[in-house]
Symmetry: C2
Subunit: 305 residues, 2 copies
């Protein structure tokens, strides 16, 4: 039987995903907890980590590395943002030992960058996945890579010679969720109508005037008689299409540039369709494997300090 | 005492606003009802109009003209869309007598146009306000006018020689409402922070990549320490700024073109700030006076047929 050497956690706003890893970074066990930081009472992170997470993975005595919103002011202990550009060594240097933890426990810092506006941009958690993805193939240590992590808050990241130099967050997933649940574009039908998704991609055009293009999802039904059940797919195509048309361009990503999509397979497939339509060839990678590799790399670098 | 000659109603999704008018179109009485078509059970419009609206305005025997969503398939009787371009005479020609009405009652048709996408665009109600605004000043009968009606679904309308030739709807108001209530950008603070509104206007840039620029409202707080109470104003500036930067351009409206803002005074003031910053001088007009004038004009033209 393999002996676990590390407890690795991606502790986000909604969920906590935990793995025990052996000394080579291979997964021994995996557990999900509905214990995101939005569900934590102030000050209880240490106690719940010790009482619920550690025992569930037989990891009472293991060193632990955590990334994600657990390092925010809503989490356990703040791990301050590092300013981009950052590399894996910077990230390991920014690990923070949280208050009241037993044994060797570290929380990864987030990253802050200039972004598109004066407000700048931030991430917590995706940086660890990104550096894990880089670790998984030594060929990625050099050159320029564009990595997109789709999701509630999609991250577009530019890596140059192993350092995260720029990134932009697009809240495409959250827009889809709130419009679908709470707006005149609502609908509970699954977003699986490939033709309507394609119509939405076309309607996105250059990604400008999104508030106006969104209304086309309504006009299409009341003015043109399209079935209302196809609205979620159309809306998904419109939002993902608008992101694909505008965000890469603002990051200086030109047609022909390959994009690495990192995350949920079904969502990555939708992004792939939107991006390849615009001449950006995509390859899809497993986000979970990247997260595990990133947490393990932070452990190796952090424990050696 | 003035004698009322007409019952005029703007009957929308959420509310019904009714006026009794004298023979010259002046308002005799006015009442609001929380009786939008979204609150009507199927088939009950005729009965509730007769039992609640008519008596409240002492208008049991008056002719009546109605505009807005009451002409949709959720309303009373469908008044089919007319295709733009349309003039006031076309609109009067499209008036529909609803089922089960007593006396002379007419519902105004909506208008459909090409819009920005293959889905086209639609309106119901704003066309009546627009033609009322034209009627209020004979100088508006000729030439080109650009009229913006801000709101939940803002309408941008181009009038040429008295005919509505093009329009685009931007769901800016609805985006603001759902993001504020249901997203990570939420907040109950009033949107009255003029400096944060200005920051949002600047962050809107060219109106592209809206899903990414929206996340700046979050990054501004967690990454730059801006007070979370200023988020609603920043969000409002960002959304209105993005509309001002993109929609006029797509309608061929160039800097220097005067814009007529028709609607709620406080909201029109925010649009004015966004548009004048981009070199489009604005004049604000009362939307209610325009609605009354439009309904009265439809009555005069309709009764003469």
């Amino acid at each position: 039987m393999t002996t676990a050497a590390l407890l690795a956690c991606d502790w986000g706003t909604t969920n906590l995903r935990a793995w025990s890893l052996d000394g080579a970074g291979r997964v021994v066990a995996r557990r999900d907890f509905a214990l995101g930081v939005s569900k934590l009472a102030r000050g209880e992170a240490a106690a719940r980590f010790a009482a619920e997470v550690r025992p569930a993975l037989d990891a009472d005595a293991l060193p632990a590395v955590l990334c994600g919103m657990i390092g925010s002011n809503l989490g356990w202990t703040v791990a301050p943002y590092l300013e981009a550009p950052v590399g894996l060594d910077d990230l390991a240097g920014g690990l923070v030992a949280p208050e009241g933890s037993a044994g060797w426990v570290r929380i990864a810092p987030g990253v802050r960058a200039d972004g598109l506006t004066a407000a700048g941009d931030v991430m917590r958690g995706e940086e660890t996945q990104l550096f894990g993805w880089l670790e998984l193939d030594p060929d990625r240590a050099r050159g320029r890579h564009v990595v997109c992590h789709p999701g509630t808050h999609a991250k577009w990241m530019v890596v140059e010679d192993g350092r995260l130099t720029r990134f932009v967050t697009a809240m495409t997933g959250e827009l889809f969720a709130v419009l679908r649940r709470h707006s005149v574009l609502g609908g509970e039908a699954p977003a699986e109508d490939a033709a309507a998704f394609g119509e939405g991609l076309a309607a996105a055009a250059d990604g400008d005037a999104l508030a106006a293009r969104l209304f086309s999802a309504r006009a299409r039904v009341v003015g043109r008689g399209a079935p209302v059940e196809s609205t979620p797919s159309y809306l998904s195509g419109l939002l993902i299409g608008a992101e694909a048309a505008s965000v890469p361009k603002l990051l200086g990503v030109t047609p022909g540039t390959p994009i690495a999509l990192l995350g949920d397979a079904a969502l990555c497939a939708l992004y792939r369709r939107a991006l390849e339509r615009r001449g950006m060839p995509c390859e899809v990678f497993d986000g979970e494997a990247a997260a595990v590799a990133g947490l393990f790399a932070l452990y190796r670098k952090g424990i050696a300090r």
